[in-house]
C-alpha cells in the first residue's frame, strides 16, 4: 500500500496556479465516483460537464497520469483533484481495491512500453556505428577547442585594455553567441554571467573563465575525473540512460531539500539528497516547460531507497535517479548531523580543491542562530559566523528562518560557497523540516 501523500506534495505537482485552483474544486467527494486505490495506482470517475464522466488514474510510483479529459495540462485538474481527495484520508478513497479493467489495461500497457523501450535502447546501442560516433565526437571537440581558444583571446584583450574600460554594449552577448555556435553552451552561459557581473567581481569571473577555457585546451593532459568536470562545465552532456547503464550507487537517500527556479522558458527543480550509508551528497535536476511542473517530486524529509548514477567529475554531485525500491518513506523525526560554520567552509574548500569552478557545496550546518545585522543575515555558532548569501533568498524566506529559530540554534541545510551560505531547509524545534524557498 502506498502511503498517502501530504497535501503539499500534491500541490507541488500542479503545473500552474490555475490548475491548482481548478483541482481544489474537485478535491471533495461530490464529483467523484468509483474511486479506489491498489496495485500502486489510484483511480476514479469524475463528473464533468458532459454526460460521460472522465476516467482519471494515477500511477503513484513514477508518478504517471492518465485522464480521458481533453486538457493539455499535465497533470490535469482531475488527476490533481483525485490526488487531493486521496490525500485527505481513507474515508475519501478506500485502500486495497482491485483496479477496474480500464486501469488494469493502462498499467499493463505502461509495463509493456517500459519493456519495449529498454529493448529498443539495447538494440540501438548494439546497432550504433562506433566509428561514426567517434568521428562526430572528434568534430565537436575540435569546434569547442576553437571556441575556447577564441574566448581566451577575448578575455586577455579585456585585461590588456583594462577592466575599468567598459566594453561596448552587446559585446559579450556576441561572444556568447559564438560560443553557442562552437557547441560550448557552458562557456556561453558563463560569458552571460560575466556580462552581468559587478565591477569588483569582474576579475574573478574573467580568471575562472580563462581557467576553464585553458583547461579545455589541454584536456588530454588532465586526469580523467578533472577532464570530465571540465567537459561538463564547458557544456558536454551525458545521456541519463548511458549514465544508468554504468555504475550506480544504492543507498537510503534522505531528501534534504528542494528548490524551484523559473525563467520564462523553463522551470528547474533541484532536489538534494544525502546517502545514509555512503554519506554522499547528490543533486537531482528536473525541468518543466512553463505550464508543466517538473516531473520529479520528492518531499523534503523523506527517505528513498534507490540507485543513483552520478555524472562523472572530479567532485561528483549531480546524479540521475535509477531504480527505486518502494516509495519515499517518512524519515525519523530528527535533524541530520551537521557542521560548524568553520567546518562548512573547510568542506567547501576541500570541494573547490577538486573542482575549482564550484560555487557552493551542499552542507548541513548544525546549531547555528540566524541573526539579522546591518550587513545582512549571519549564521553564527558563537565561535564564528557565516553570512547568508545576498539575494539568494527572498527576504520573506529569511524571516521564516528567523521565526523557526526564534533565537535558538537550528540545523540548516543549504549550499556553502564563497559568496556565503544559501539556506534551503531548516529543522524546527520538533525536528521537522521546513522548506525555506
Amino acid at each position: 500500500m502506498e502511503e498517502r501523500w501530504s497535501t503539499e506534495h500534491v500541490l507541488s505537482l500542479a503545473p500552474d496556479p490555475a490548475s491548482l485552483k481548478a483541482a481544489g474544486k474537485l478535491s471533495g467527494p461530490g464529483p467523484w465516483s468509483a474511486t479506489g486505490t491498489g496495485r500502486g495506482a489510484l483511480w476514479g470517475l469524475c463528473k464533468g460537464s458532459g454526460s460521460t464522466p472522465y476516467r482519471t488514474a494515477v500511477e503513484l510510483g513514477t508518478p504517471a497520469y492518465k485522464c480521458s479529459c481533453p486538457s493539455r495540462k499535465f497533470p490535469c485538474k482531475h488527476a490533481l483533484g483525485l490526488l487531493l481527495l486521496w490525500a485527505a484520508g481513507p474515508e475519501a478513497v478506500a485502500d486495497g481495491a482491485a483496479p477496474p479493467d480500464w486501469v488494469e489495461e493502462w498499467l499493463d500497457g505502461r509495463g509493456r512500453a517500459a519493456a519495449d523501450r529498454a529493448a529498443k535502447q539495447q538494440a540501438k546501442a548494439a546497432e550504433a556505428d562506433p566509428e561514426a560516433a567517434r568521428r562526430r565526437a572528434e568534430k565537436r571537440a575540435a569546434r569547442v577547442a576553437g571556441g575556447a581558444r577564441e574566448l581566451r583571446l577575448r578575455l586577455a584583450d579585456g585585461v590588456r585594455r583594462g577592466l575599468a574600460d567598459p566594453l561596448p554594449a552587446g559585446a559579450w552577448e556576441e561572444v556568447a553567441a559564438r560560443m553557442v555556435d562552437a557547441q560550448a553552451p557552458g562557456l556561453a552561459s558563463r560569458v552571460r554571467v560575466l556580462a552581468e557581473a559587478p565591477q569588483d567581481e569582474l576579475l574573478e569571473e574573467y580568471a575562472m573563465l580563462h581557467l576553464l577555457a585553458g583547461a579545455y585546451g589541454r584536456i588530454d593532459t588532465l586526469p580523467e575525473a578533472l577532464a570530465a568536470t571540465v567537459r561538463t562545465r564547458v557544456g558536454f552532456t551525458t545521456d541519463a540512460a548511458d549514465l544508468l547503464a554504468g555504475p550506480t550507487v544504492r543507498d537510503r537517500w534522505h531528501v534534504l531539500g528542494s528548490r524551484d527556479t523559473a525563467d520564462d522558458r523553463l522551470t528547474t527543480r533541484r532536489v538534494w539528497l544525502h546517502g545514509a550509508k555512503t554519506g554522499r551528497h547528490a543533486l537531482l535536476l528536473a525541468f518543466g516547460r512553463p505550464g508543466q511542473a517538473p516531473d520529479l517530486a520528492l518531499p523534503t524529509g523523506r527517505l528513498l531507497e534507490a540507485e543513483l548514477a552520478y555524472h562523472p567529475g572530479a567532485r561528483p554531485l549531480r546524479a540521475v535517479l535509477g531504480t527505486r525500491y518502494g516509495g519515499p518513506e517518512p524519515a525519523p523525526a530528527a535533524a541530520p548531523a551537521g557542521l560548524s560554520p568553520a567546518g562548512a567552509l573547510a568542506g567547501y574548500g576541500a570541494a573547490v580543491a577538486e573542482d575549482p569552478w564550484l560555487d557552493g557545496w551542499p552542507t548541513v550546518l548544525a546549531d547555528v542562530v540566524p541573526v539579522r545585522t546591518p550587513e545582512g543575515w549571519q549564521l553564527t555558532d558563537g565561535a564564528h559566523s557565516l553570512p547568508v548569501r545576498r539575494g539568494a533568498l527572498p527576504e520573506a524566506a529569511l524571516w521564516r528562518l528567523a521565526a523557526v529559530s526564534a533565537g535558538h540554534p537550528v540545523t540548516l541545510f543549504g549550499e556553502c560557497g564563497h559568496h556565503g551560505f544559501t539556506p534551503v531547509t531548516a529543522w524546527d524545534a520538533e525536528h521537522r523540516p521546513v522548506p525555506l524557498g
Binding site: L84, Y206, H419
Partner: protein
Amino acid sequence: MTAPVLAPADDWADLQGAALLGTDRRPLPEPRTALAAAVDRTDPAGALLDLAAVAAVRRRAGALPAPAVETPAPAPDDPRPALPEAAARRLAVLLGTRGGHGSTANLAELLPQWLTAARTRGYRLPPALVPTLLDTARARSELRSDAVALAGPLGRWLAPHNPDWKYVTRTAGEQDVHQQPGELLWQEGLFAERVTHLTRLRRTDPAAGLALLASTWSTERAEDRVLFLDSLQDGLSAADEDFLEAALSDRSKNVRATAAELLSTLPGSALAARMAARARAAVRHDGDRLHVTPPAACDAAMQRDGIPVKSPTGRGERAWWFGEVVAGAPLALWTTGTGLGPEQLLALPTVDAPDGGGAEWAEDLREAWARAAVRQQDAAWARALLGTPPRPGRDTRTPGAPAKLLAVLPPAERAAWTAAFVQTHGLGDAFQLLGACATPWTPPLSTAVVAALKRAAELGSYPWSHSGVLGMTERALAPETAPAVEALAADTSPDTAWSDTFTRLAGTLRFRQAMLTELE
C-alpha cells in the same frame, strides 16, 4: 571580490589594480607564491589571468569564517498547545504560501474566521507561518488583533526587527491594557490606535477609560472628540453623566449631538428626564387614542440637549423636532405612563391635537419609537415594531430600518425573523437583514437562503444580481447546509453561471466545515 567571507591575505588587490587599468599600462605584480612564480609571463595579459585564477581558487578554498556576531536573547517560550497538523496546512493554504495557490473560492473571506476560531481555542502557530501571517495582517488591518494574539511571544519577539511589523507592538492584547504602554499609547499613539485603546479600556474598566479621556479632553481636536465620545458607548453608565452633561456645552455641534444621544440612552439621566417631559407634552394618551401635539418651537434648552433647529434632510420643522424629542425620551415613559405594552401602544390610533398639523404624525411617531428602540437596545419595543415575522402569502412590510431593529433582538430570534422574511420576499431586500444576523447562520435561516437561491435560479435571474448576498452566504451559511448546496449544484444544468455559483459555494462550505473541524 565581494565575498563577505574572510580570506587569507594575498596579492589580490595588486592583481585587481593591474586588471582595472590594463596590463598595457600597469606592470604585473611580483609573484608571492611558488605556484605564482611558475606562471609563464611572456604575455602579460594571459599571465595576469593565470595569476588571478590561482589567487581566486586559493581564496575560495582557504576561506575562513568571520568572527561570531552577537545573538539576541531568544524568544520567550509559548506555552500554548501546538496547532493540529491539518489546521497548520489549512492556514498555509489560507495565507497563500506555496505560490499563492488557493484550493477553493474566496479564501480571503475565510481567513478572518479561521484566525478568530484558532485564537478562541488558544493554539500556538507553527513558527514558519508567523512571518507570513504578520505580513498579511499588515495589509489587512481587520486581522491584526487576532493575528498578533496568535503570533504570541514569537510575533512580539520578531516584530521589532522588521519595520513592516511595527504595528505588532502597538496592537496590544487585552491583558496589556492597564500597563504603562497603554498610557504611552494614549499620549503618543496614532489616532486609530488611541480609539482602539480607549474602546478596549472601556470594555474592561469603564471608569479608567473615562478618566483617561477626561485627562486630555480639552486638548483634543473637535473631530477627534466626536469619535472618542462615541467609544464611551461601551460600558456607558450613570457614572459618565456628568462628563457628558458638560459636553453638551461643547464648542462643536457634533460633539454636543453625540453627547445628547448618549445621554438619551441613559434612562436615569437628567437629559432623559427633560426629553421625557417634552415627549409627554407632545403625546397625550386618553385611553384609546394618542393625541399628538408636536413642539411649536426649538427653544434654547432643546438646542442645548442636542436638537438641531433645522433638519439635516430638510424635513418639516415641527415633524423634525417631534421626532427628535420622542427618539430621545426613555421608552419606559410610554409603558409606565399608560400601563400598556409596546404592541398595544403601536395599535392605538393617533389623532391630531386641536392645534396639531395632520394625521401623518402616526408615521413620525413610529419612526421615532424605532430610533429610540435601537438607541436604547430595547428588545421588547424592537420586537413590537418589527411585527410578527412575515408569512408566505401575506405581504407585510416593516416601517423604519428593520435591520437596525433586528440587531436589537437576541440572535436566534433575529435569524428566525429573517428566515421568515426571506421565505416571503426572497433575497432582493434581504441583504441588510442577513448582515444583521449572527454568523454562522442558524440551520433554518441557512435552509431558507438556499431555498431562495434555488428559486432565483429557477426563475432565471442572474447570480451576479445577488452577488452581495452570495458573498455573505459563503461566509455565513451553516456547514450543515453543504449537502443541500451540493445537491443544488448537481441538479443545476452544467456550465451555467448558477452551476458555477453553487459548485463554488459548496466548495467554500466544505472548506469552511473542514477548517473548523480541524481546529477542534
